[in-house]
Symmetry: C2
Subunit: 345 residues, 2 copies
């Protein structure tokens, strides 16, 4: 296979750079055709590489120094003040210059989104970047987008999300004709807020596999391949699901502490529960995608472990090989007639 290159923000995430470096090594050991640029504090990265006693990877691994980093808690203003030398900024720069074809960060999501838009620019015909992620369902996985890049959206934005997500599911997940649903509070046309009602009419008129509104409960049944929503609702959907899983796990723990009989049960169930937890773990999916910018950007969960980092690299490589962006641009061009009638106002 043709070699590809990925730039990784080594300083992003709660356990950086240790888990990032470990994840990169895990990935490289299994994938000979990929070159990785580890971007961050050189000395810290080198220390981790020594700790893992890595050798024989020199030709596929470069360390790029960035002496500043953006913390997880920093607010928007500070990105700009010191943007030139942060690891996020430098990693994006490698993509902009064409040295790498994708950028990954498990750092401050807001910073990655803002800097990616500013540095890479937008794909032609797309108004705003959108954050997409896969949610686990009873039948597999469904893409949910936007999950937080846009708080107040117009119908045109949602239509763009639908087209971008469609291409992603087709190319990376091999779903030939993705079923596209609109998140709402009732299945029938006309149910939902103004944004949903207007978007419904547009999606219905388009040459896509639009399956109508879907409710929050049905979203997890796996009856659609892509669920379109505004970033406010999408982000809350994602976070509520995480919260419910956490509460259930805690309740299972506390319930099972209450009797010896149950404790024995839990002991025996442990392997199953661990498997289950992995299926429900968002970090397993490899991160969220920032679609719509002019370059492939994958945003990992702040709590990413090495395996999640490796999954994120794997995802970005698949996106490069499937030429996802090129195909999104072509999809948008094909729908130009419809999109041009929709304003962002």
């Amino acid at each position: 296979m043709e070699p590809v290159a990925v730039a990784i923000d080594a300083m992003g995430g709660d356990h950086a750079p240790a888990v990032v470096v470990k994840g990169v090594m895990e990935f490289l050991s299994k994938n000979p055709d990929t070159r990785i640029y580890l971007v961050g504090k050189k000395r810290e990265i080198r220390r981790e590489l020594r700790r893992l006693s890595v050798s024989g990877m020199e030709d596929r691994l470069s360390v790029v120094n960035a002496h500043d980093q953006i913390s997880m808690r920093e607010q928007l203003l500070s990105y700009w003040r010191k943007r030139e030398r942060t690891s996020i900024q430098q990693a994006l720069e490698l993509v902009r210059k064409g040295t790498a074809q994708a950028m990954i960060s498990a750092g401050n999501t807001g910073a990655v989104m803002a800097l990616a838009k500013n540095n890479l620019g937008m794909l032609e015909g797309i108004g705003r970047p959108a954050l997409a992620t896969l949610i686990p369902t009873a039948k597999g996985k469904t893409m949910l987008m936007d999950v937080g890049a846009n708080v107040d959206s117009r119908p045109r934005h949602l239509v763009e999300f639908a087209l971008m997500g469609k291409v992603f599911m087709q190319t990376v997940h091999g779903v030939s004709n993705p079923r596209i649903a609109l998140m709402s509070i009732g299945e029938e046309e006309g149910k939902g807020n103004e944004l949903i009602k207007r978007t419904y009419g547009i999606l219905k008129s388009m040459d896509i596999n639009f399956v109508g509104n879907i409710e929050g409960r049905e979203a997890y049944l796996g009856e659609s391949d892509l669920i379109v929503t505004d970033g406010f609702t999408g982000n809350i959907t994602l976070k509520v699901a995480e919260g419910v899983v956490d509460v259930m796990m805690a309740l299972i723990q506390s319930e099972t502490r209450s009797s010896l009989q149950s404790r024995l049960g839990v002991f025996l169930l442990k392997r199953s529960l661990r498997r289950l937890r992995r299926r429900l773990d968002y970090a397993e999916i490899g991160g969220a995608l920032l679609l719509g910018v002019n370059g492939i950007v994958v945003i990992g969960h702040g709590r990413s472990n090495a395996k999640a980092v490796a999954s994120a690299i794997d995802l970005s490589v698949r996106m490069i090989r499937e030429r996802v962006e090129e195909r999104i641009a072509s999809e948008i061009r094909g729908m130009r007639n419809i999109l041009e009638e929709l304003s962002y106002a």
Copy 2:
């Protein structure tokens, strides 16, 4: 205790009138000071009463005939066409005339909301009714409102939700100074959509225990007593939580079918899992409340069983005894100065 009277739509819910009648009998057998009006098809109700061989309840149980009913699937238009003789309408009529002090239905939520608003009218100073429910958290229960009565809200509506929910938590749940949070996609002030940003500023300025924004994940940790949200977001929150619980239960089942070892574990865990399921079951809570109308209205889940019906009656009786509405009206009067500055536009 002073006797109270509750009117119940006997035809509401998936298993009406059987489970409704059963739930009523369960409640009456334990609560001597309550009179129940069972409203619906007289013949069907009497048949259920005979089946349960009820006797000695005649002085506390009346059957009110309503020869029509609104199905769960019916759309808005049809309510009006036949409103006079439906069980929902007749039950509301008993409240309007003062024969009963509360009305309960596990029927078509949209119909109950629309007819309640139309028949009972609104409490003075409240713009729209709101649907409130309790969600289970790691520490107990938190009220979430609105969960679907309003799809597009203005800041004033959310402020009204906060005041109504506050009174409910104080009176019915004995929380002296309820912690009120605003559902958003970031904790800091300024995070969220336009509606949330504007509402944040108003709630902050009021003499209430406003604890700021809360994210979807934290909502289930139990760090607040009341979470205020628009009906679109609230409804999706509720449904997503249900969907995630369903998927987890299904995954636990399928995971544990996979090995004999796990099966033994599940057998031993069964009692614990059943208890857990009950804690997470929304029907247990007794239903959602329609706050803001001029009368106590409790809306049960369509899938309510007899126990859920009994819980709903219990909830409505507590609301009557605590004079929740009177206190909401007084709270609203006390905040008149602030509310009058906020338009609904």
